[in-house]
Amino acid sequence: MNIVTISQNISKIEFALFDGSCGEPVSKGELKNWMNHEIIGGIPGKIATHFSKSLRKQEKTFSANLVCIRVAYGGQEFKSPEIATARSLEKLKKIENAAPMHIPALIELIGAFKNYFRGTPIALVFETSFFTRLPERERNYAINPGLAKEISLQRFGYHGIFHERAYEYCHEKDKRLSRIISVCLEPVPEICAVMGGSPVMVTGGATPLEGLPGETTCGDIDPLIILSLSENLGWGPEEINNAISRKSGIYGLTGRKMDFTELFSSADPDAIFARRLILYRMLLATGSAIAAMGGLDAIVFSGRYREIGGQIHGYLSSKLGKFPEKHEILPDQLLKLTTCSGMLAMLKKDRTHSQKISLDNGYSF
């Protein structure tokens, strides 16, 4: 079974071809600056050509049995992966306003794949599906629920595929490990407390801007700061958005573009300060996650910068007297996870779990 996986963000599309064994991809590549109406229609053809050339060298021919597309946001509408149908595209259109940068382009991309790979099923795997099980107490912001609904104001979390797989990875190793802190180390990092397979606390918010600072994203800030930027600098929403999503985080602190691997090895004083700050924010989130679960069995690092997990674990251990002595590193890459975890989840599991932790019996968490 040949599976094509597609993962995209604003700046690029990453694609890979798996032969169904969930091992390393047979072929992979990326396309930059894809979010252009005139380019999107031709993307599936370019990807197919890339795979064909790559397989020719291995004396194989390219064919696809399934295309898996990772979707960053599916709101409450998508509680599990779905095969793209007219109905699912309608559902996506309904939540367009909540992610106006992503969803319209994504719908167009899905259409292009449908056209090119006629008859091949296209599966949509959502990062947010995992978080549709987030308890109300964690999901809700403290504003009027009517207004919250109107402007799609609910906490999600943005690396659900990683966190879900992190839990499964630990649980497969030892069934007694049921309270997991999953630290996803991507350009916008995220910490999630997973208990009994369900998320109970996550640093990400209604958008990836909330939570831990990223390579260019601000993380948690006082809401009044946004208003201060508007009042004191005369900035409109677009300028503010640009500053807090593209010029903040590590970039904002150090003044230069730097990824997490470089940050954790740099001797530059600004980088040392940024590292100290991010580690501190991780400590706060870890304490919060432990309180949310009433304890901790394991900590797992994943994502493209997962190798710095050792340094983070060392720091957290030094601060928390009682902490798992060892940490786990999730070996899989996102593209592989999108195939294995997402698809296996769709094929094998009923994802509509009931919430594991009920608060109905008073307020004892």
Binding site: N140, E210, K319, F365
Partner: protein
């Protein structure tokens, strides 16, 4: 703006020397109220006190001053269009009894900005600095300034001291007080975490250290100031604040009566678009119509919400409100226990923290991982404060301590004035000697 002379900027009479008796009027301004207490120092004895309520435009009920001297309490209905008029009415009441003539003022000022890291005597210079930062706390700082000027006018010659809610948090390290937005912006607009309720956090932490017989500079704790209005949690290491849930403004952090607390930055932007760029509308929504009131739609007081839930169970707005309120406190306690490392105590104070056992129970249960265990029986019967509600197996004391911000302000005022007197006196002696 009239800047008055503040005549004792240059020196203080000998009655302000250390050990001397001083009657201090502590003034605490809210947006439409003015609380005052006359405390005799250093014996810390309250002589009189009261509260001017409903200052400002006319409301459904008349403006009034509830004034008490000793055991006697009286209510005066009087129109007070602003805080200066309220102070003048209070002065009239106090002037009826010559035995309570004040010697100094201690003013609660919420925001000290980046300028004031400790209590400061009001001089023409410090008043100018206060003017520069009053926009940082638009609800609290302007009425406090109005009263500072009114005091100088009504009691010419009496020294005034400003005691800041932010001062205790001046020790928060840079890595905890820095926001990750472009440096040029934080430097230009002087944006950083300031933290609030510092006077209360410091007071209850000092009390807790005294109860536990620990020197304050070796005492570490997590302090939960849970008021019926504002609320914040503070991490304290060796007697110093190292973090606070409030931030650049008192809006960040916990779910409060009408304040939203933490919010995704993009959502503030969404709201700006929703309100077509009106920062005033968004600020008003987040500060005065969110939090417990916004979520529940029925009351701004968490006690009402908890009481509603006792009467009816189920998936109601009040149920979600109570859960979100408690959950946020619990998560922050976890964060700060991790930061402090080996705390001596977890402290609860102010209206909700002192009087609602259900809140303490909910946020302390299932926290054994941190060495924290609450005793159900002690918690339910913590009527006399201070009270220890920790279980015998808890390695961290859980203490309920009554806050007394006015007394804390009186202490700071007394301390600063006698320090200034000694300093100026010594300086004078030194100068004379040099001559």
């Amino acid at each position: 703006m009239v800047l008055l002379a503040f005549r004792y900027a240059a020196g203080l009479p000998t009655k302000y020397k250390r050990g001397g008796t001083m009657k201090i009027i502590v003034v605490n301004c809210g947006s439409s109220s003015l609380k005052y207490r006359i405390i005799s120092m250093p014996e810390e004895k309250e002589i009189a006190g009261g509260e001017a309520q409903r200052i400002g435009p006319k409301t459904a009920e008349p403006s009034r001053i509830i004034h008490r001297v000793g055991e006697k309490t009286e209510t005066h209905l009087v129109e007070m269009r602003n805080h200066a008029e309220a102070l003048e009415e209070v002065r009239k009441l106090l002037s009826r009894d010559s035995s309570i003539a004040p010697d100094a003022f201690g003013h609660r000022v919420v925001h000290g900005g980046g300028i004031f890291s400790s209590a400061a005597q009001i001089t023409a210079g410090s008043a100018r600095d206060l003017e520069k930062i009053k926009h940082l706390a638009p609800i609290h700082n302007p009425p406090a300034m109005e009263v500072i000027y009114a005091c100088e006018k009504a009691y010419p010659g009496l020294p005034s001291v400003a005691v800041f809610d932010t001062a205790f948090h001046a020790t928060i390290p840079d890595f905890a007080s820095t926001y990750c937005i472009p440096r040029e912006i934080t430097e230009k607009l002087k944006i950083r975490k300031f933290g609030f309720h510092g006077t209360s956090h410091q007071f209850v932490a000092e009390e807790a250290a005294r109860i536990m017989k620990r020197p304050f500079n070796e005492f570490s704790a997590v302090s939960c100031h849970l008021g019926s209005g504002g609320a914040s949690i503070c991490a304290i290491v060796n007697g110093k604040s190292v973090d606070n849930t409030m931030g650049y403004s008192p809006l960040q952090g916990l779910v409060m009566s009408t304040r939203c607390g933490d919010l995704d930055p993009a959502l503030t932007l969404n709201l700006l678009q929703h309100f077509i760029g009106s920062t005033t509308d968004v600020e008003r929504l987040l500060n005065t119509r969110s939090g417990v009131l916004g979520m529940s739609g029925s009351s701004a007081d968490i006690r009402d919400i908890l009481s509603m839930n006792r009467k009816s169970s189920g998936n109601t707005r009040s149920h979600h409100t109570a859960e979100a309120y408690l959950w946020r406190i619990k998560k922050y306690i976890g964060s700060y226990l991790a930061v402090v490392g080996k705390p001596d105590a977890l402290i609860f104070t102010d209206t909700i923290g002192e009087t609602i056992p259900q809140v303490r129970w909910a946020v302390c249960s299932d926290m054994e991982y941190f060495g924290l265990k609450i005793d159900a029986g002690k918690n339910d019967h913590a009527d006399v404060l201070p009270s220890d509600v920790s279980h015998k197996d808890s390695s961290i004391k859980i203490l309920v301590v009554a806050t007394n911000e006015e007394l804390a302000i009186a202490r700071r005022t007394y301390g600063l004035l006698s320090e200034n007197h000694n300093f100026l006196w010594n300086k004078k002696l030194t100068n004379n000697y040099l001559k």
